[in-house]
Amino acid sequence: MAAVEGPMPGFSFENCIRNRHLEKIGHKAPTAYKTGTTIAGIIYKDGVVLGADTRATEDTVVADKNCSKIHYLADNMYCCGAGTAADTEMTTQMISSQLELHKLNTGRKPRVATANRLLKQMLFRYQGHISAALVLGGVDVTGPHLYSIHPHGSTDKLPYVTMGSGSLAAMATFEDRFKPNMEKDEAMKLVRDAIAAGIFNDLGSGSNVDICVITKDKVEYLRPFDEANIKGKREGNYGYKRGSTAVVSTEVKKIPFEVVATQVVSGTEAMDTA
């Protein structure tokens, strides 16, 4: 018999005929857990500012009120992800591990262009079936860089980018107020306002604003940066005060019990939670 075959390269389409047949019968496939989303990034004077909202949706229900959409790729680069949550999470983790191996192999800090190439080559190979739209930003020896990567594998290298369902609202804010070489506070405010525009005007985005500031020397991961949608405090109380119902009589009864056995358990033994 032939030796064990390694995994075939590329995407396996063997279930597609079966799935189409099932859909015709009436069994609809489970929907993907999408992130809805507004993600954005800009290049400012000293580096890159990335921003994201924190709502994850499953069709019209909010699945996660405070998910983290800014993923770690390397110490000097982070990647925001929109689209299917599993796809963005796994894709960024895969490329993050590839970057780490590459760093050990070359002995150098990884470059943002490398991450860009790795991401786009993988997404193109899967022909858009991996629904991951990413905003990749970081600072390396050649300076700050910002890329937007689409699910089919095309990339754009721009001074400011937005992705996700709230991208039009965020992009409108950028087009209105972006200037090259902004100061850090101005840049953070602009990204916060862009994500807020997405949060308040797009139904797929909501909750808080997360920000990540990457410079040559350090990374500031501010989660949450702005809690724009705090749950309201309950003003009234439906509990009944003591005395609402008149107490007619009170009787205290002791429940009789016998001690059958006593066992002293040593405090250092851990509970068996298997």
Binding site: P159, A172, D176, F200, N201
Partner: protein
């Protein structure tokens, strides 16, 4: 029991569960002419509206797109109805021309009655809603979105009517792509400055028209502005916004 099970749900309609030739589908007699609107041909893009402290301003660019072709670059999509009301239209230009003639004729008839009454913004808004919803109910819509703006009862008026008859009033209105791109900017501007004067309002609208020119692929940077205050209607046409391409030198290649 038997009789109720055989009761008809409706007459001449589709059988539950059966296929139905919905009007507008491809299956019809090839010899019969089309008797209802199927799709728009020459179209106008977004119309924006913004209320400020003493009035309301609306704007729409001067482009009539023929699909992806920028065919007519000097169209007027803003109509002055009378000294209190203006209407802006987006969508099919032919349907707008049809309706604007009807509106103008009605205004003349009102004047002829000579009773001191004319169209107020809310009466025109109400009439427009009924017309649009009625056409939609006959599966023969006027393929437009109208923005009605005016001055009434010492207060500004701003409303939106859709081709399916959706109608509402709000301090900021935008149709088409404006709803995704300009509406966040308009809402934010109004939140930061709830009591704008006319200069601020025009400046906000100009910023929004500029962003729309950058990001809407069927737009033009030449537009018309209509300002309604207690003193009447002012139409400014054409207004050209200056795009800023300063960032162009920062972009080289795609990776």
């Amino acid at each position: 029991m038997e009789a109720s099970l055989q009761m008809e749900f409706w007459r001449n309609g589709p059988q539950p569960g059966a296929l139905y030739n919905f009007p507008g589908s491809q299956i019809w007699n090839q010899n019969e002419p089309t008797k209802r609107t199927l799709y728009p041909s020459v179209t106008g893009t977004s119309v924006l509206g913004l209320k400020f402290n003493d009035g309301v301003v609306i704007a729409g660019d001067k482009l009539g797109s023929y699909g992806s072709m920028a065919r007519f670059r000097d169209l007027s999509r803003v109509l002055k109805v009378n000294d209190q009301v203006v209407v802006g239209a987006s969508g099919d230009y032919a349907d707008y021309q049809f309706l604007s003639e009807i509106i103008e004729q009605r205004v003349i008839e009102e004047e002829c009655l000579n009773d001191g009454f004319g169209y107020t913004p809310s009466s025109l808004f109400s009439w427009l809603t009924r017309v649009m919803y009625n056409r939609r109910s006959n599966i023969n819509p006027l393929w437009n979105t109208y923005v009605v703006a005016g001055w009434e009862n010492n207060a500004p008026f701003l409303g939106y009517v859709d081709k399916i008859g959706t109608a509402y009033q709000a301090p900021t209105i935008s149709s088409g792509y404006g709803a995704y791109i300009a509406q966040p900017l308009l809402r934010d501007a109004l939140e930061k400055k709830p009591n704008m004067n006319v200069k601020d309002a025009i400046e906000t609208i100009d910023r929004c028209m500029k962003v729309l020119y950058y990001r809407d692929a069927r737009s033009l940077n030449k537009y018309e502005l209509a300002i309604v205050t207690k003193d009447g209607v002012e139409i400014r046409s054409p207004v050209t916004s200056q795009p800023n391409w300063e960032i162009a030198h920062l972009i080289k290649g795609y990776e």
